[in-house]
Symmetry: C2
Subunit: 150 residues, 2 copies
């Protein structure tokens, strides 16, 4: 199979770096969350984070964000509803749809966990110089676009 290698070697090197760092970051993040909320899985955290930013989203919205099927999102939400962290209602105007949001308790727990992880990450990032920090922030914005545009 022709593997369509780029004309620019820097591009391939950058792609390789992404492929190496993203899993590293995921493992770090999972460990950080576990230290704080051992009962939360990464998918659960992603679900809570999405509903934190998008209150009132439907199950389809959530599934699209998670990159999973509707059934996966459904069982995920069912568990979080069971633990009183997510509220699931029926959309009055579109009765097929769910209206999802965090409960007060779910939001408080999520904010606390996010803040703890951010504090831990900040501690590590604080060793970087202001210039390095600015470049990392800029690079993250670029990667956000790269991952999000499709």
């Amino acid at each position: 199979m022709e593997t369509a290698t780029s004309i620019r070697p820097e591009v391939d090197a950058c792609a390789s770096a992404v492929l190496e760092v993203v899993p590293l970051g995921t493992r770090w993040l999972r460990a950080a969350i576990r230290r704080r909320q051992p009962s939360w899985s990464l998918p659960q955290l992603h679900t809570l984070g999405f509903l934190r930013r998008n209150p009132g989203a439907s199950l389809s919205d959530l599934a699209g964000h998670l990159g999973t099927g509707l059934s996966t999102a459904s069982t995920l939400v069912t568990r979080l509803v069971g633990t009183r962290q997510v509220d699931r209602r029926e959309d009055p105007s579109e009765r097929r749809k769910s209206v999802l949001s965090l409960t007060t308790e779910g939001q408080a727990q999520f904010d606390a966990a996010l803040e703890a992880s951010r504090a831990e990450l900040s501690e590590r990032l604080s060793h970087l110089s202001p210039e390095q920090l600015a470049r990392v922030s800029e690079a993250l914005a670029l990667l956000h676009g790269v991952f999000g545009e499709g």
Copy 2:
């Protein structure tokens, strides 16, 4: 609880960006792999990638890399041995230890999948300017250190 907020707001902003982009990248990566090798899970890919770079590693080495317990690594390896992608032997000098490596077939499949994902990522990264690309690469190196030093 005191959440030890940083004195530098830029640090916290950067940490927030990391917390947002890392999950995005993970979902993109999973989707990219699925397009190529629908049968591989992310943990399996990480296992293959680690053994690709560290042939002869022990099960403990692998578990440490994955951030999981020994039992998780053991069942993971058992499945990959069953599909003829990983070779598991006994260390002659330390008979408690396993010596893990990719089979010829496993290595070929991994290389092909990695190359496909890299090509797909490269296509997206190719839209960046040389300056942007350099910054992303530099930032990734910094993040590699941030995630890896603990």
